[in-house]
C-alpha cells in the first residue's frame, strides 16, 4: 500500500458571461471614442454615470444623454494598502469616488496622487489611455489626475457623498 493521499485540489470555478445591458453598453462603447456619456433621469433629473437601466429612486428608464467633459471632484476616497491578485497599481494608491462635473452620482476610479495628498474636494481630470488602447471599459480612463485648481468647498459635494 502506498502512502495515503493527504491533500487534493478542489477548485470551484464559475465561468460566467455577463451582459452589460443596452444602457451600459452605450456608455461603454462611447468610452472607446474617449467620451463620457451619462444619462439623466426624466423623473428626478439626476444625472447618472455610469448610466443605469432604471433610476433606483424613480424606477424610470433613463432619459436624455449628457456628455461630460471629464473633470470632477473627489468626494471620498480610500488608500489601498493591501495587495491582491491581479493588482496593477503600486501600493499604496488612491481609489476615490469622483463626482464628475454635471453628474449627480460619483464614479469610482483611481486617482494619481501620493496617498498622503489625497483629500476630499480635490479637483481632478480624467486621463485617457491613447485611442489605440481604448476598450469598452472604464480602464480606457487610466486614472484621474489633480488639475491644480483650488479644492471645491464641502458644500459643493455634501449632497453627493
Amino acid at each position: 500500500m502506498s502512502e495515503p493521499v493527504k491533500r487534493i485540489k478542489a477548485p470551484v470555478r464559475f465561468d460566467y458571461t455577463v451582459g452589460a445591458g443596452l444602457t451600459l453598453s452605450r456608455f461603454l462603447a462611447a468610452l472607446v471614442e474617449g467620451r463620457l456619456v451619462a444619462r439623466r433621469c426624466p423623473g428626478c433629473t439626476k444625472v447618472y454615470v455610469p448610466p443605469r437601466g432604471a433610476c433606483p429612486t424613480c424606477a424610470l428608464p433613463p432619459g436624455e444623454e449628457v456628455v461630460l467633459v471629464g473633470t470632477g471632484t473627489v468626494t471620498t476616497f480610500c488608500i489601498v494598502n493591501v495587495p491582491f491578485e491581479g493588482q496593477t497599481m503600486k501600493l499604496p494608491y488612491v481609489y476615490a469616488s469622483v463626482l464628475l462635473d454635471g453628474a449627480d452620482i460619483p464614479l469610482l476610479h483611481l486617482v494619481d496622487v501620493p496617498a498622503a495628498q489625497a483629500r476630499m474636494g480635490m479637483r481632478v481630470k480624467a486621463e485617457w489611455v491613447p485611442p489605440s488602447e481604448r476598450r469598452p471599459t472604464l480602464e480606457s480612463i487610466r486614472w484621474f489626475c489633480p488639475t491644480g485648481e483650488p479644492d471645491a468647498p464641502f458644500d459643493a459635494i455634501k449632497e453627493h457623498l
Binding site: M1, S2, E3, P4, V5, K6, R7, I8, K9, A10, P11, V12, R13, F14, D15, Y16, T17, V18, G19, A20, G21, L22, L24, S25, R26, L28, A29, E65, P136
Partner: protein, 150 residues
C-alpha cells in the same frame, strides 16, 4: 448617436482555488486508486461503503477499516449528458451513474462511457477504466465502461 447596437457581453470567471485535506480514510481510498485498487470502508454491522466514509451513516459509529472491492459492478441509476461541459470527465456524450461495485453495499457516482443513451440500462454491468497515469484522485478512474457480454 449611432444606431442601436447589441448589448456588450464579457467573460467573467469566479474561481476559488481550494486545496483540502482529505483525512485518513479518503486518503487511503485515493492512494488505492493510484494503485488501481478500489477500497471500501467496513462498518461494525458488516456493510461495505464505497466511497468509504469515516463514520457509519446508520449508527454514527466509526468505520472499522478498509477492504478491497471489485472493479466491476451494477448501475443502480443514471442520467444521460448530451453536451458535456469542460470540467466533465468525458468530452463526448456520457452517463452520470451510481455504480454499486461487487462487494460494496453503497454506490459511487461516476461517468459511464456508453456511447449513447440507448447503451445505458439500470442494472447493467460496468467495470472501471483506469487512467494510465494516476495521481491519487477520483479522476484516476477515467470512467466506467459497459462489461463485454459473455
Amino acid at each position: 448617436m449611432s444606431a442601436a447596437r447589441p448589448a456588450l457581453t464579457a467573460p467573467y470567471v469566479l474561481e476559488y482555488t481550494y486545496r483540502r485535506s482529505v483525512g485518513p480514510v479518503l486518503g487511503e481510498f485515493l492512494a488505492g486508486l493510484r494503485d488501481a485498487r478500489v477500497l471500501g470502508a467496513r462498518t461494525a454491522g458488516g456493510r461495505t461503503l464505497v466511497p468509504p466514509a469515516e463514520y457509519d451513516p446508520d449508527t454514527s459509529d466509526a468505520t472499522v477499516g478498509l477492504v478491497e472491492v471489485g472493479q466491476s459492478g451494477e448501475v443502480t441509476t443514471w442520467t444521460w449528458i448530451d453536451r458535456p461541459l469542460p470540467p466533465h470527465p468525458l468530452q463526448r456524450p456520457f452517463a452520470w451513474a451510481l455504480v454499486k461495485l461487487d462487494g460494496a453495499d453503497t454506490a459511487i457516482l461516476h461517468a459511464v462511457d456508453a456511447g449513447s443513451a440507448g447503451g445505458m440500462k439500470t442494472g447493467m454491468r460496468v467495470r472501471v477504466r483506469w487512467r494510465s497515469e494516476r495521481t491519487g484522485e477520483i479522476a484516476d478512474i477515467a470512467c466506467f465502461e459497459p462489461e463485454a457480454r459473455s
